[in-house]
Amino acid sequence: MIQVDRLTRYYGNACAVDGISFHIRKGEIVGLLGPNGAGKTTTLRMLTGFLAPTSGTIRIQGTAIDEDPLAVKQCMGYLPESAPLYPDMLVFDYLGYVADIRQLPPSAKDTRIEELVDLCDLSAVMHKPVAELSKGYKQRVGLAHAMMSDPDILVLDEPTSGLDPNQIVEIREIIRRIGRQKTIILSTHILSEAEATCDRIMIIHQGKLVADGTTESIKQSAGGLNLLHLVLEDAAFDDVRRVIGAVPGVTDIQSITDSPLHVRLTIETDAVRKAVYGAIRSQDWTLMEMRPETRSLEAIFRDLTQEN
């Protein structure tokens, strides 16, 4: 559906996007994550044909963007960050204008606008100018704008930024509803949002793609080291280090608190847990707690985007 190959963009001498490649299949909801200034918006602007890449290619449904920009824009709906719409137009007029520019046949225009008003719950603001709308409504008008021609691909730049928690839930609900049939790419810096709405996550840092996959696969690959916490009573740290350190597959032991003794093991695979338990049972210690540490997406995100 979307094929991106070594996409690079410079602003003057500053490199905003640095050789990103990825492939998005039909029907995926992809979350683009990254700290501010990582190159998310620049990437999306190139995907939608607003900015030209310095080098690299983008193919949408097999068509390169620079060969036929009109055809590509036709099958894509885009909501830019903070939904910049014409402030002086009424919502009703604005949607009519978008329908005209998208060249909807006059017979389909009214029904399509009605559908979108239902989907985005806009009926209360149809006769208000865009400038008077709250941020949540503005964002919803922007969504209606992006979905006007029922495009196969939706690109949403921070669709929930600046909204209150209720509005965030509503917008997510809309995205999930339309995501059943469409390919959606959305950028965000709220990790829980990406985890909640997206099938697949791409993390961008300093213009580079540093992680790409489902939440699960990212957690697995980024957490290549497995951590195991043990809380033991009637045990001394020196003994624990001697006994458990001898178990094959345990690469590191660190003490966290002394009484009760809390240690953190670094193990090579999950299977080592069995041997660790065996080693504990052979001693006179009381095992109070044994728990693997699952690293949250937040921790992985911090690791990936804070080095250097």
């Binding site: 939608t48 824009k73 903070s82 007029d93 520019i101 060249q103 704008h145």
Partner: protein, 234 residues
């Protein structure tokens, strides 16, 4: 062609539903009406010659005020991004906006049609120069509107766009009055580069292809330059 017309419609409605049209049009009519009629009865000639001789200088101030928002405002609010990611070409955006500004100038000029009508009631008016004058005014407005669209594409600040537009239009209007200061070798170039001479030729009722071609070239060049500016922003 349909997106061009949609953009034209939106931009024209934006002019007439915002205060711009209701400020620019009365100011234009008051200024032009005042200067024209303050000498009209002194000369006591049934002609619109003085009215038309005022137009290039008034247009060079009023037309950039109309065009200044066309691209600058969109770039400032960010709606430029929304516009350019819709399935339209840069040509659609530029020509649609240009046509809207041109149509507004035509609307602004239309009440002055009352002048020749009332004058023809009190004297023998020669309609030839009047028709030529209005044709020339439309051509002049097209050239200046195109320059204004270009100025508006250069910046996100409407005031800067206005000043650049006025500077270029004013230079085009006045350059043939400054020939005294020009090096003799370049005289011919500067003489033909001035908009006023070409306009006054048409306003005399002499419709010469050179004059028409002049306005079309200025308009075309300015719109082509706008396209280059927008391409460079991508």
């Amino acid at each position: 062609m349909r997106p061009t017309l949609t953009i034209f419609k939106r931009e024209f409605l934006a002019f007439v539903t915002s205060p711009i049209a209701y400020i620019v049009i009365p100011v234009f009519l008051i200024v032009v009406g005042w200067f024209f009629f303050s000498t009209f009865f002194i000369y006591s000639q049934a002609s619109l010659r003085n009215f038309f001789s005022l137009l290039p200088i008034t247009f060079s101030l009023m037309v950039p005020a109309i065009t200044m928002r066309l691209f600058a405002e969109e770039m400032n609010t960010g709606s430029y991004e929304t516009l350019m990611t819709l399935p339209i070409t840069r040509f659609d955006a530029i020509v649609g906006k240009f046509l809207a500004a041109w149509a507004l100038v035509a609307l602004m000029l239309s009440p002055t049609l009352l002048y020749p009508i009332t004058i023809s009631l009190i004297g023998a008016l020669d309609w030839g120069p009047v028709i030529g004058g209005y044709l020339g005014a439309l051509l002049l407005a097209a050239a200046y509107a195109a320059v204004g669209v270009f100025a508006s594409s250069l910046t996100r600040n409407q005031i800067v766009a206005f000043i650049i537009g006025v500077a270029v239009c004013f230079t085009l209007t006045m350059i043939d009055k400054m020939l005294f200061f020009m090096p003799p070798l370049l005289l011919k170039i500067f003489e033909t580069a001035g908009a006023d001479v070409h306009f006054q030729n048409i306003a005399k009722g002499v419709i010469d292809t050179r004059d028409i071609l002049y306005f079309l070239s200025v308009g075309f060049l300015a719109l082509a330059a706008t396209r280059l500016v927008l391409e460079n922003k991508a």
